[in-house]
């Protein structure tokens, strides 16, 4: 929500927002149902189910972040914070991955 545009506080705009929030909430429920259903569909291997589930979760999460948390119309500073966060989170996940490329692991010792 930026406050320099005055029309963002107009009653018509707020009413539209209220409707949008309900719509997105509905879509989130729909996608949750889809997630549950697709986990019981046989795609040949369980890892495909996992990937599909995670993609759907990521999509739902971005709906929440972009619309519910207003990230789609946020100031640059917040994006800068989040860019750093993403770097650190990737770092955290990479640390996990390092274990699996260690020579001891690949040679079957661990």
């Amino acid at each position: 929500m930026s406050h320099d545009h005055h029309d963002h506080d107009s009653p018509e705009y707020l009413k539209k927002q209220s409707l949008l929030v309900w719509k997105i909430g509905g879509w989130l429920i729909v996608f949750t149902c889809l997630t549950v259903w697709l986990q019981y569909v046989d795609f040949g291997s369980h890892s495909r189910n996992v990937i599909i589930g995670l993609l759907l979760a990521a999509f739902k999460a971005s709906l929440v972040a972009l619309i519910f948390m207003h990230l789609k119309s946020e100031r640059g500073l917040i994006y800068k914070f989040l860019a750093f966060t993403v770097i650190f989170v990737i770092g955290l996940f990479a640390l996990t991955y390092l274990h699996y490329v260690s020579p001891l692991y690949t040679e079957g010792l661990f």
């Binding site: 589930g53 500073l77 917040i78 650190f88 955290l92 996940f93």
Partner: protein, 465 residues
């Protein structure tokens, strides 16, 4: 003093201050949960045993997802109501949001309690039986107890000459006496009746005299039924409690009685075991197989055959034993007399399940309360390698499940507290500057959406995949 930039944007950031603050906080939260999700992946790919899949109740997790999404919508409606200067509507939406938070926690509490009362027993060879303890408890029964030896708080020198203090006897063991009175004779022939005060007096006196133990003889033999979590070790003639108290008598019964709802024989063979026949042979030597009632052995073989045929029909030319899903479905089986619980159940089977079983099982179970629809299986202590309820110590799955959902639950509670504060203590600020109150609610809302966002990942990761 007035707090600056509650409504007006600060020139250098272009934002009011609380928004900068909450986003910095959320950034740290992303890294906190990111680290835990990373741990989840680490545990899951590194697991040397198939990761438990679909062990939680999906409908409950689904309802909670619905509740959180709905509450995310209501908190936004509350904020928009403030923006439109409709305070009553704001209060209604806010109250709904808080109710959702409470609803989430109530459902979570049911789920946790379900896990706490559900047990898994891993036999010496790795086969597993799951279910509820008969009558909700497992006790080691000891009879003909004639001596009780109380321990004092003895000190000894440990590594680096540090004083190690062992615990002294407390009155805890008294509550396990099932028959007889705690009346004893001490070594001098004096009569003592033990209770909490008497024990602490005896222990203190003995400590003063540097006497390590107090030996007491019972006036009449006692019977005990002891909770295993209080036992340090026991033999056929002696129990040592964790507080150091020893009792001597005769072991009467340490059989664990489980109302079994699942048998899992997957640990009996490596996953890449080539032939189903070999795996099936291995399974029929399992410890869990031995204690399984004959009718369930038959059902297991039928179940295995059915799953095998299904797999072969679907995936011609593939080795089913290389497929973890197949191995799970074919080598573990839900056990339910009413055949309503598991994927083994088929409509036409239901009828003969009941008919076959009613003669053997329904009758003895009829007078007991509780889980009528699961057969009671007696498991000897010597066959048990490990047993536990489904808490973090049971396996890595429950460890990370409780860590993730517990931390998330704390966030829900924290969110609910702040939302409640905003609902009941927001009027004053609203009257001075309604936009300030709207911004405060937006800030809480951002946190609340983040809690929702974390759950969006937790639900599929823990319940579905």
């Amino acid at each position: 003093m007035e707090i600056p930039f509650t409504v007006k944007p600060r020139p250098d950031t272009g934002l009011w201050n609380a928004k900068v603050g909450i986003w910095l906080f959320l950034a740290s939260e992303v890294m906190l949960f990111g680290g835990l999700f990373s741990a989840y992946i680490f545990l899951r790919i590194g697991a040397d045993f198939p990761w438990p899949v679909h062990v939680l109740k999906v409908p409950l997790g689904f309802i909670n997802t619905f509740v959180l999404i709905f509450s995310s919508v209501t908190v936004l409606q509350a904020w928009l109501a403030l923006k439109m200067r409709q305070y009553t509507r704001y209060k209604i939406w806010m109250a709904l949001t808080i109710l959702c938070a409470l609803g989430f926690m109530v459902i979570k509490a049911f789920e946790y309690s379900d896990k706490i009362h559900h047990y898994g027993v891993r036999m010496q060879d790795g086969s597993v039986l799951e279910g509820h303890l008969a009558n909700g408890e497992y006790n080691v029964k000891f009879g003909e107890v004639t001596t009780v030896t109380l321990a004092t708080r003895a000190t000894s020198k440990g590594l680096f000459n540090i004083n190690l203090v062992s615990p002294a006897s407390d009155a805890g063991f008294l509550k396990f006496i099932t028959s007889g009175n705690p009346e004893f004779k001490d070594t001098s022939g004096k009569t003592v009746t033990l209770n909490s005060a008497e024990i602490s007096r005896l222990v203190k006196d003995a400590e003063k005299n540097k006497q390590p133990t107090i030996k007491l003889t019972t006036m009449a033999p006692l019977k005990f039924a002891i909770n295993p979590s209080k036992i340090a070790d026991y033999t056929a003639s002696k129990v040592i409690f964790k507080d150091g108290t020893e009792i001597e008598g005769k072991l009467e019964d340490d059989t664990l009685r489980l109302e079994a709802d699942m048998v899992d024989l997957r640990r009996l063979f490596p996953l890449n075991e080539d032939r189903i026949k070999d795996a099936l042979a291995a399974v029929q030597n399992a410890d869990a197989w031995r204690v399984l009632p004959a009718e369930w052995k038959e059902k297991f073989l039928v179940h295995n055959k059915k799953e095998t045929d299904k797999f072969i029909k679907k995936h011609k030319g593939h080795n089913p034993m290389e497929n973890a899903d197949f191995v799970r479905d074919a080598f573990s089986m839900p056990i339910s007399l009413h055949a309503d619980g598991g994927h083994a159940a088929e409509p036409e089977k239901k009828a003969d399940h009941k008919a076959a079983v009613s003669t053997n099982h329904d009758a003895p179970h009829a007078e007991e309360g509780g889980h009528h629809d699961h057969p009671e299986i007696a498991i000897e202590k010597k066959d048990i390698a490990f047993y536990s309820n489904f808490t973090p110590k049971y396996n890595n799955y429950y460890a990370i499940y409780f860590a993730l959902t517990g931390l998330h639950g704390l966030h829900v509670m924290a969110g609910a507290l702040v939302l409640t504060y905003m609902l009941f203590f927001g009027k004053r600020i609203y009257k001075v500057n309604p936009e300030h109150q709207a911004n405060r609610v937006e800030t809480v809302g951002l946190f609340w959406h983040f809690v929702d966002l974390v759950w969006i990942f937790l639900f599929p990761l823990l319940y579905l995949m």
